[in-house]
Symmetry: C2
Subunit: 294 residues, 2 copies
């Protein structure tokens, strides 16, 4: 199977599982469920849930045990985008080539839709832990909660907004990257390895690889904001320039930024390869992320 | 010990525990932690966490096992108030006699502060489940997640906003009450009983009592909005009239509403009394809630 088909298959697996988790419209009004679906099924790359599943399989676990955590993580990722796009935050009208949640459903419903996805992620993980209470399941939930929470993604977003419009030192930019983007990718790989039954030191290695992948991913994002087109990205380009944001590109230029991303990516691959043949897919995925144009 | 002292002691227990959970300001910027504390330590009645602890003790469990869930529930309650008060939602300037979060920290930080409290509640519960993975801990987390989530409190808020400015039928008003207010009180009593080790049928009885307490509580709230003063309530009165909201008071008048609340409250007491002497505190609390003027 070639890479593109492989990824497509995995994306479809995640999409199918997500649909089982997005509740039927039993309660009224349907608007909240419709709005959750609108943002959740907007053609995302499903990178984070695919990483949860791949890490679980890499350590010999069963994919179905990891699926609730994979879907919860994607819901948390989606909620964070909905709230990031709000008028009081980044005030973005487009995301993945479609109008953002608040442009379609209004600001009040967009806030509640984001809240709803975070609530539902918590409920799905709590249910999975209740169905099978163990260090594996509860550890996976904890890894995701930490990655997303006030020492993870959330704080990255706070710091990002806090320093808006100011020129940043490299240390603060790295803090933002490690928290806003990396923490959730770290959480994804840790959660997958944990629910798959890996020992703590192996879980930590997956986490470290995830952190490096996350920073490389964010640097690439900043490069694409300069070099890509709105059609390819599905959102306005040059948004960092417009918002006068400090990025790796403004600090180091495009070529040097590419080199830094490539180095981090290679370090992640080295860690993953050191854990054996089973991490092959994750290594390929890491390399592929470096080549992406969207 | 008289009732007032008893409640004061329990409130202080919860406050002390909440302070251990609100993180030290290790990361920068401190604003998110400060903002979380601003809303969390605003003199709330701590009704919900006290219920979690009391239900746990009533079934023979240890209070310290219930404390993480009690604190998490209070954080979720607080987050919901912060988001409810936002300009895009109810647009309220005062809560508990103080300026609301967005008036102090700005709209963007208020959204993130609410998100942060929900994230932190998830993390605290996940940690408690990981430290002791069992049906008791994970069941408590699940009860709270369900009470707060898209079939609970969140949907109540969505429906409330959806029908804003419209005259409601009793069925829809009851739906809003049962979800927006009762679901979390149900979740509090269920979580406490569950982590305390109660059997499923006992947990369900606590839940049913919680639902009745919650609706009675909401009817009282609507009455107080008409009969109380801003000094006593800590927020503007006559807000329902201003917002043309349908309430029990507009449907049935004050006296009939009081009777309905009293009946629900008595039904909850009957359920709790049927489970024995250990529920005495919860019975007293239920009766006391009916007498409150704030």
């Amino acid at each position: 199977m070639d890479w593109k088909n492989e990824m497509q298959t995995r994306i479809q697996e995640v999409e199918a599982a997500l649909r089982t988790y997005i509740p039927k419209q039993e309660t009224f009004p349907p608007v909240i469920f419709e709005a959750m679906g609108y943002s959740l099924f907007a053609g995302g790359k499903r990178l984070r849930p695919i990483m949860v599943l791949a890490a679980c399989e890499a350590v010999g676990g069963k994919k179905e045990d990891a699926m609730p955590f994979a879907c919860a993580l994607e819901m948390i990722h989606t909620y964070s985008l909905i709230h990031d796009d709000l008028p009081a935050m980044d005030n973005d009208d487009y995301r993945r080539g479609r109008l953002t949640s608040h442009k379609v459903y209004g600001e009040d419903m967009a806030i509640l839709t984001g809240d709803g996805l975070l609530h539902h992620a918590m409920q799905i993980m709590a249910q999975a832990c209740y169905d099978n209470p163990s260090k594996q399941t509860t550890g996976a939930m904890l890894a995701i909660a930490k990655g997303a929470g006030i020492y993870g993604m959330l704080t990255g977003q706070v710091v990002d907004i806090y320093f808006e419009g100011k020129t940043l030192e490299k240390e603060i930019l790295d803090f933002i990257h490690v928290h806003k983007t990396s923490a959730m990718i770290r959480g994804a790989l840790e959660a997958g390895a944990c629910v798959g039954g890996a020992h703590a030191d192996v879980v930590e290695k997956f986490g470290l690889a995830g952190e490096k992948i996350g920073v490389a991913f964010q640097i690439l994002d900043d490069i694409l904001d300069v070099t890509s087109t709105m059609e390819e990205l599905g959102k306005p380009i040059h948004s960092d320039e417009k918002n006068e944001k400090t990025t790796y590109v403004t600090l180091y230029g495009i070529e040097r930024s590419r080199e830094i991303a490539a180095k981090l990516s290679q370090e992640a691959v080295d860690i993953l390869e050191s854990m054996g043949e089973n991490c092959k897919f994750l290594c390929e995925l890491t390399k592929d992320l470096l080549q992406r144009t969207y």
